[in-house]
Amino acid sequence: MCSYPLLLSLSLLPAGLFAQADAAQKTVLDQLTGGTTRQWSIVGTKAAPDAACGTTDRYYTFQRSPAQVVVQECSGGKFASRTLPLTSWTTNGKSGIAFGGSSYEVKELHAGAPVCKGNANCIRLASVPDGKTDATTTIYLTR
């Protein structure tokens, strides 16, 4: 008789864990897409998306459905865009996003972090080692 609550809790445990993992993934994607679409730029980007640009200017537009990211890079003084599929991942208690052949961990940074240069909405995409190269890349985005 007493074992019913125990059995019920045990049967709900996997569902709870799954929901937790799903929620973590949702948070990362929600953060980047704002629920639908959100445009971010590399910290320090000065040019508007349709204006003449400098070599370090870059925009990332994350879209939730279909999950994709539009990367606008500066080439020859003009922005050129490419669209990449966006996926999410969870391994060993860590989660993040993947696009363009790299997996990234996403972290929201506080505005006081020097790299954010005072921007309140500041995030960091840090690539996860892929086992092929020692180099990792870090992208600082703001909006």
């Binding site: 972290k107 940074l109 972090a113 020097p114 960091r124 996860v128 086992g131």
Partner: protein, 158 residues
Amino acid sequence: MEQTTKERIDYMSKAVGPVLTVLGISVGAWQFTSQMSHESKMEFRRSMYNKKLEAYEQVGKAVGDILIVPHDERLWISADDTLAFDSCLEAFRTCYWGVLPLVEDKSVEAAMIQFKDMARFYRRGENDYQDLAREGMALMNACNHSLEEHWSKQAKDQ
């Protein structure tokens, strides 16, 4: 007729004796060689295990040195600690480039890269001490797992 059979048996026993002796010596030599080869393989594995252990001890020391730099485990790095922190990070990087290639293990390598990155992020004030300590712990767990794997592989071969 009887004489002939007896002679034949004598002849056969004289011929079989040396053949058996040669066979025995060959089997003994083969056993000895294979035992030696197994022993030398095990010796190599044991020495690799010891090298790994030594390397991971160095990694552990470098991680520990980095983690004890911030006084009282303060959440964010203070200006007073940056010089010592940089010096310890340098020692860790030396360990990464100097020791690890000898005992290559993919999971340890990935954990070292992540710890190195996290140390940089902590140094820049992007991540707090808890994140750094967590990555340090993950790295030591990876080392531990690598040693366990090496040991269990060795036991399986024996």
